[in-house]
Each structure stands twice: as C-alpha cells, then as structure tokens.
C-alpha cells in the first residue's frame, strides 16, 4: 500500500535529481505558506493530529506482532523512510536556526552594535564551514579540501577540546571554595567522594597496594572500597531514580502523544 511512497523517497539518479530537489523546494514553500496562513484555531488540532499519527506509527510498529519468517511486520519497511523524514525535519529546524543567526548577528554588524566584530567572526566562521564543507563532500578542489581540514580538524575540534578542558580549572576552584563539611551529611559525602576518587586513580591504588589481593582483607583495598560503593550503594540509589524517571517519562510521553500536556509552551497562543 505504501510501496509507491517508499519508491518515491528512494535515492534518485543524478539526471533527475535536480527536478526532485526543485519540486521538494517548491512543495516545502507551499506547505510553509499554507501553515502560516492557517487560522489560529486550526493550528493546535493540526499539531495534535500530526503528533498522534507520528507517535502511533512507532508504537504500532513496535507492538505489532512480527512475521517469524521475515522478522518484520507490515510497518517495518517504512522505518527507514520515516527516519529520512525525521532527518528532513531536522534539516528544516537547522534552516530556521541559520536564518535566526543571520538576522540577529547581521543586524549587529550593520548597526555596528557593541561587540559587532564577534558577530562578524561568527558569521564568517559559519559561512566558511558551510562552503568548504560542501566542497569537501561534493567537490574535487584539493586546496578547498585542505582548508576544510584546517577548519574542522585544526580548529573546531581543538577549540571544542579547549572549551571542555577549562571545566577542570573551574572544578578545582569550585570544589576548593564550596566543599565545606558543615554537617554530618556533608562529611559522609566528602569521605565517600575521597574514597571513590582515590579508587579511580592509580595513586590511590598505590596507597593500599601493600594489602593482599585475596581474602577478606582485600576488601580494604581502596579500589575495592570504591567498587563496593559504586556497585552497591550507588547502583541501588540510581536504580530507584531510574525507575522513577522511567515511569515519569512514560506518563509525559503519553500526555504529549495524546496532546493532553498543559502549561508553559503547550498553552501558548500559536
């Protein structure tokens, strides 16, 4: 029944691809115009219907019994096309994000607002990554590919690592300033934290390395104490939290799927 749809979304040869792309763009523009002009009272029901149908597809595909021979049910073949639809939606939200960035930072640059050069750096970096990224994927220009390599591996990845590594410095400063044993609970927490930290690094292992590795006394080795804390005390607490989260997540999912959720975003006028 859905076979023509699957065929329609299958990869296309390069000769007809531009027509499909042009058609998709036109169709998208048409849909966006239609959605913008939709009366306010029709928007929420439309969102509710689309949410319900999308959720129904995955729920039905998951729960519907499978044919033992093919290991599939009648919906299984449509999982991949559905995933492509998800990617398309992701692409559209990306476009929205890019447009928003261009509008906000473009305005900063044009009006020479305070810190306009930061906006310029952001937009230049974004445009450069897009252009050289596309060339890297689809082009053949060796120089452009090298530039992309410098931008991606030479800059982005290292800047990402640098930003993340700064956390270590803040952790040192924050733990020194904020960790005070003001109560019994805080004292227990600190002792536990120290034991886990010592058990996590070889220098901690060295402290109790003189103890035998077998027998009951081995339980006093710092790595074994750490292991006990993690696998017994910590795991029990996390199990309880995970159980609560699971039940809560299921309830929230059902409420969103059936459009029963209220408050904050869900009651906003659209």
């Amino acid at each position: 029944m859905l076979e023509p749809i699957v065929r329609f979304f299958a990869p296309k040869p390069l000769s007809v691809l531009p027509y499909y792309v042009a058609g998709a763009v036109l169709f998208s523009i048409l849909v966006v115009i239609l959605l913008i002009n939709l009366p306010s009272r029709a928007r929420k029901p439309l969102i509710a219907i689309v949410t319900f149908l999308a959720g129904l597809f995955y729920a039905a595909e998951f729960f519907w019994p499978i044919d033992k021979a093919t290991n599939k049910n009648f919906l299984t073949d449509y999982l991949v096309p559905a995933s492509k639809l998800g990617s398309l939606l992701g692409g559209m939200t990306l476009t929205l994000g890019i447009l928003s960035l261009l509008r906000v930072h473009g305005r900063n640059i044009v009006r020479l607002r305070s810190g306009w050069y930061n906006s310029l750096a952001l937009l230049t970096a974004m445009v450069a990554m897009v252009i050289f990224g596309l060339i890297d994927n689809y082009g053949t220009n060796a120089t452009a590919k090298k530039v992309f390599n410098v931008l991606f591996e030479g800059m982005l990845i290292n800047m990402d690592a640098t930003m993340f590594s700064l956390i270590a410095f803040y952790i040192v400063s924050a733990s020194y300033r904020a960790f005070r044993i003001r109560s019994i609970e805080a004292t227990i927490l600190m002792i536990t934290a120290f034991l886990v930290m010592l058990g996590q690094v070889p220098i901690g292992n060295a402290l109790t390395d003189w103890l035998p590795k077998d027998g009951w006394i081995a339980s006093l080795r710092v790595e074994n104490i750490k292991q006990w804390i993690l696998s017994q005390v910590n795991a029990a607490a996390l199990r309880a939290i995970a159980f609560g989260l699971g039940v809560g997540g299921l309830a929230i999912s059902l409420r969103i799927w059936l459009s029963l959720e209220r408050g904050a975003y869900f009651e906003k006028e659209i």
Binding site: E153, A168, R180, M190, S231
Partner: protein, 284 residues
Amino acid sequence: MAMTPETSKPRDFWERLQAIDRRVLYTLLLAVITLPLFKPIRLPMVTMPSTQKLYQAIESVPQGGFAIVSATWSGGTRAENMPQTEAILRHLMKRKLRVAIFSFDQQGSQFSYNIASRLAKEYGYEYGRDWVHWGYRPIVGVVLKSLVRDIPSTFATDRDGKPTKDMPVMKGIKDIKNVDVIVEIAASGIYMDWIGLVVGANPNLKFGFCPTAVMAPETYPYMDSGQIVGIMEGMRGAAEYEKLVNTTGLATKGMGSISLAHVLIMVLIIIGNLGYLATRARGG
C-alpha cells in the same frame, strides 16, 4: 560565620587558607597535569572487574564475528574517549573480528575513521573486506530501531557514499541477530537508547559501554542486570584496557596526570576545610 573569600579580605592564617587566589589554583593544576607527561610516574594499575568483563566479552566472540563500534563523542572528551576507541578497535582487530564503525556525532565520525585507518594498517585490515565506516548518522532512536530489523538498509552507504551491500565485510549481516558485539563509546547517556531499542532484540548480543568517568556511576545498575556486559570507565578504564591488550597508549601515559590532579583537588578541599573548621572553632 566563614568569610566569603572573593568579597572580603582574609584576616589571619586560617582565613587565608580558605581564600587562595584562583590563579594559584590554576597554575597548580596546570603543573600537575603537564609535568607527569614529561616525567612519567610509575604507579600500580589494578584492572577493575567492569573493564575485565568487557575484555572477556570481546574475547569470547569467535574469529570473524561481527562487531559494531559507535563513537558518539567529540573533541571535548577526546582525552577519555579517544584512548577508549583506540583500545577497543585494537582489541577487535587483534581478535580478527569484522568491524563496522559509525557515529551519532560528526566529530566522532572523523575521529573514529582516523583511528581505525591507522590501526587497520597496523593489523593488515582491508577496508570493505575487514572493516567499514558507516559515517555520521543523525537521529539516534530512528537509526537504532531501524538497525535492529534491517542493517543493510539502515547503513546502505558508507561514509564516502559508497554502497555497502556488496562489501565482503557485510556478508551475512541482515539484522541485529547477526551481530556479536556492540561497543558504544560516548560522552552521553546514549547507552539507554541501545538498551531500550537494541540489546533485548538479540539475547546473544554483547553490549559494552565506554563512557567518560563522570558518566560511569550511573551505568552500574545496567551492568548488574547484564544488559551491559562491561564498562570501560573513562581514561582509567582505557589505561586498564591498554594493559590487557599489551599496549601503552595515551591513557597509560596520562595516569600520572590524572592521579596528581585528583590528589590536588583532595588536598585543596582539606586545606579549605581546615581553615573553615579552625575559623568556626574560634567563633569566626
């Protein structure tokens, strides 16, 4: 009441203990992290049961078995996740398993490809025959649901857009039942998606997880339940794994830095608390 270090001037020794300048702290941390890299410290290394279990799980897969490695990490956690990825791929290639790699992160895709390409040369692995890189794949839930039922369709092309269906490495791989082992190397809670959508679909599947150290404690209940066969905890886990596969990599070299950084944090907490307790005892 204790004074606030940043807002008022310390009056005596005990108060000064609580208000060490942050630049001093930063310099100390920088020193303890970098110095051991130039002058390594020899320390005893005990292999944790969680790491040993992961190693044993991969050891139990017969030669030629099919392994999927997902490298969902980026530059931010490369210090931990890169040695983990290298240790796992090294073990898989040593064991002569067929390896398929992909990532839910663009950076992870590039990193894992670079690591695998380098190791492939070392172990004589030929691309397409012994290993394949499926590239970056967005939208976790959809990909995982899809790969359970149909791997060739889910990963129809590799990272360069070449069709995978005729690659020898994919021979006989139809769905999750044909996969022997999956290892997720991540800096996030993505293991929940694997457990929820994939692990239960093949009772013989071995699912290993390599999180950053800060993520590790929350995964213990799933190792207890057997849904995760073993865990490689951060850089320390990677160092243990390097020892198991008889290699010395970045993780082993970094253990001195990690050790001293931990000790520095503990010493600073103790110093701050000594100052706090002494000030409180005086009624300050």
